[in-house]
């Protein structure tokens, strides 16, 4: 590592940044523990607060919330059988069973250690791959960016929710919403209906807090609250025994690599990574029958994978300026509000922010490991806070976060409408995540599409002429057609023709 990079990494250790990292990690852990707000909505709410801190400390805080939530999610999965966020759903399978057998401490410790190791592995990889990709991305023209965003849309639709069509529909709705406001090329005002606040575009924070925060409050309200039983854990029980450590080491290593690679793909990377790791561990285990009844590998692998995925997901954001998950989309929104433009030039223009944020991952992971083990009992008790007191607080925070973004009441109306639509969408099986990503990718997609045509003098084939573009379009086409063809081939090979569902 060069002297310059090292000095930039030391930026993380400045008092402001350490405090921001600590605050972000703590807020993230709380968000992960409490069912309700996910990391994307929590980050959106905190953005106005981070503006006071400046770009480096502000973004360190936002990143801390992102990876801190992954740590927090495991605590309630193991002790209460309630995942704080979707990436920890799979941890309930073996984590809660271990807790019922009196091994809650060991499960929590392995989850925390696995998260720490994976977080560190992913940061090391991020540190090397992000600048490499950023240099490659310098060769990207508008056509390549357009192909990349199309590829992102296609891959994301394959990986979110139960229906590809519904995911694509949500993505298109996001792209449509992104066209509200100034046209990115000519500056013509579109779809703002004369509303002054809408001329600058629909507030990203209002949409995010509405779809994730307000809709969640509605959903909690519609459901009936069940009393939770929290399994006890004592500090001295936190040490896993030698056998448990031995059995966890390889799943943590595999989960770290797998999670990092999945993090590079568009979609809810952390959730996909945890499920993929669980499936992999079960398939290669000598004792697959133990999975679901308290196998430590079923905790170690997925917990490592979901944390590594957070690091992986930062690569497309930092080096290409393209977020492929809702949380990184909010982080992009935060960066833009701080006057920092992520992408190939970030490393050249703002090395302090780039390396400061990367350095904070090391620091944050260490903080989380130290804090999570002794404070695990307190975090678990937070789940007992009844929703009748928690949800009104979330409502107020959502309103303040949304209003504070532009100090515009119109945004609060947008938040409410997004909340109602988000609630109805969930009832009808539509996920909000693709819409948020579409909303962020929209301006990049439109700008690159129109620029490509303008530069080439209207030649449509310029959208796929270069070898990079062809490769990306090829992968996108494969991603569309392979899922349609493979079941037919499989059915034909088995001699049982089946209808495409």
């Amino acid at each position: 590592m060069s002297q310059g990079v090292f000095s930039y990494l030391l930026i993380t250790l400045q008092p402001d940044n350490v405090i921001a990292c600590f605050a972000g990690a703590m807020i993230g852990t709380l968000i992960g523990v409490l069912p309700g707000l996910g990391p994307a909505a929590a980050m959106a709410l905190v953005i106005p607060l981070t503006l006071k801190l400046g770009p480096t400390a502000g973004l360190i805080m936002l990143a801390g919330i992102y990876y801190g939530s992954m740590y927090g999610g495991s605590t309630t999965s193991i002790l209460v059988n309630v995942p704080g966020e979707p990436a920890s759903v799979v941890t309930t399978l073996d984590g809660y069973t271990m807790a019922k057998k009196g091994r809650a401490g060991a499960a929590l410790a392995v989850a925390a250690i696995g998260s720490f190791v994976a977080g560190t592995v992913s940061v090391i990889a991020l540190q090397f791959f992000a600048p490499l990709l950023a240099r490659t991305a310098l060769a990207f023209g508008p056509a390549e960016y357009f192909a990349l965003t199309v590829l992102g849309v296609v891959l994301l639709s394959n990986m979110t929710g139960s229906s590809k069509t519904r995911s694509l529909i949500m993505m298109m709705a996001g792209l449509i919403l992104s066209t509200v406001g100034m046209d990115p090329i000519g500056g013509l005002e579109r779809f703002s209906f004369g509303i002054e606040t809408a001329q600058g575009g629909i507030s990203f924070i209002a949409i995010t807090t509405g779809l994730f925060g307000i809709a969640e409050v509605f959903e909690v309200m519609a459901a009936r609250e069940k009393p939770l039983e929290i399994l006890p854990v004592k500090f001295r029980e936190l040490y896993p025994n030698r056998e448990e450590i031995r059995r966890s080491a390889a799943p943590i290593a595999r989960g770290s690599v797998l999670g990092f690679l999945i993090g590079l793909l568009p979609g809810p990377a952390a959730t996909m990574a945890s499920f993929a790791s669980y499936g992999m561990e079960k398939s290669i285990s000598k004792h697959p029958e133990e999975f679901g009844s308290g196998a430590i590998e079923g905790v170690a692998g997925p917990e490592a994978a979901n944390n590594a995925a957070c690091g992986g997901a930062m690569i497309p954001l930092l080096s290409l300026g393209l977020p492929f998950t809702p949380a990184t989309a909010v982080l992009l929104g935060g960066m833009l509000l701080h006057g920092v433009t992520p992408g190939p030039f970030l490393l050249r223009d703002r090395p302090d922010v780039f390396w400061g944020v990367i350095g904070s991952f090391y620091l944050g992971n260490a903080m989380l490991l130290i804090l999570n083990l002794p404070l695990v009992g307190i975090f678990a008790k937070l789940v007992r806070v009844p929703s009748r007191y928690l949800m009104p607080a979330i409502l107020v925070l959502c309103t303040i976060g949304t209003y504070g973004d532009n100090t515009a009441l119109f945004d609060v109306w947008v938040m409410l409408v997004a909340g109602v639509i988000g609630y109805v969408m969930r009832k009808y099986g539509y996920q909000p995540a693709p819409l948020v990503v579409g909303l962020v990718l929209g301006p990049v997609m439109e700008r690159s599409f129109r620029q490509t045509l303008i530069i080439s003098g209207g030649r449509v084939e310029s959208l796929w002429e270069s070898s990079l573009c062809m490769a990306m379009w090829g992968v996108a086409l494969l991603a569309i057609f392979l899922p349609l063809v493979i079941p037919k081939i499989r059915a034909w090979m088995q001699g049982h023709p089946q209808n495409d569902a």
Binding site: I176, R190, M221, V396, T399, I454
Partner: protein, 163 residues
């Protein structure tokens, strides 16, 4: 998702995309050499329309299954079952109405006073018992938000006749 829900949601999406596409024609398309501001919205709206139509067709072609088991019994029993099933939705409706009133009141009685009232009422709506705890909670949240956002972060919130 049941075919009935799929048909309803697809129809709403088709209506929305058609309205959007018609409205988009107000903006210039220009030509391929210099595509105008209507091109991208038309593409996105067109793809949305196709996807929604595809989903609608699939829902119609799906094997007919009853969306819910046919409930035998009197009209009163059916109505009771309906209201029991949708108790949660009634609360969501009430909270939405409360939030609308909150946003409207915000400019009149001020942000912090209306927030204080929202917290109490929403807490009560979520089955908080008594008034003391919701009032204490509301005062706590209000004080915290005022200190953090208005005093420290210097964000300005709507002021009304009271505060």
């Amino acid at each position: 998702m049941t075919p009935r829900k799929e048909i309803v949601s697809s129809s709403v999406l088709i209506l929305f995309s058609l309205t959007f596409l018609i409205y988009t024609t107000r903006y210039p398309l220009d030509d391929w050499e210099s595509p105008g501001p209507a091109v991208f919205p038309l593409l996105a709206g067109g793809v949305l329309l196709l996807l929604a139509a595809w989903q609608l067709i699939r829902a119609f072609l799906a094997p007919k299954t009853s969306d819910r088991a046919v409930q035998k019994g009197s009209l009163v029993t059916s109505l009771q079952a309906f209201f029991h099933e949708n108790q949660g939705e009634a609360k969501v409706f009430a909270l939405t109405a409360l939030l609308i009133a909150y946003i409207l009141l915000m400019q009149w009685i001020g942000f912090f006073v209306s927030t204080f009232l929202l917290t109490i009422l929403s807490s009560r709506l979520m089955e908080a018992k008594g008034w003391i705890k919701p009032i204490v909670l509301s005062a706590g949240i209000g004080l915290f938000c005022y200190s953090l956002f208005e005093v420290w972060l210097k964000l300005s919130f709507p002021r009304g006749i009271l505060f």
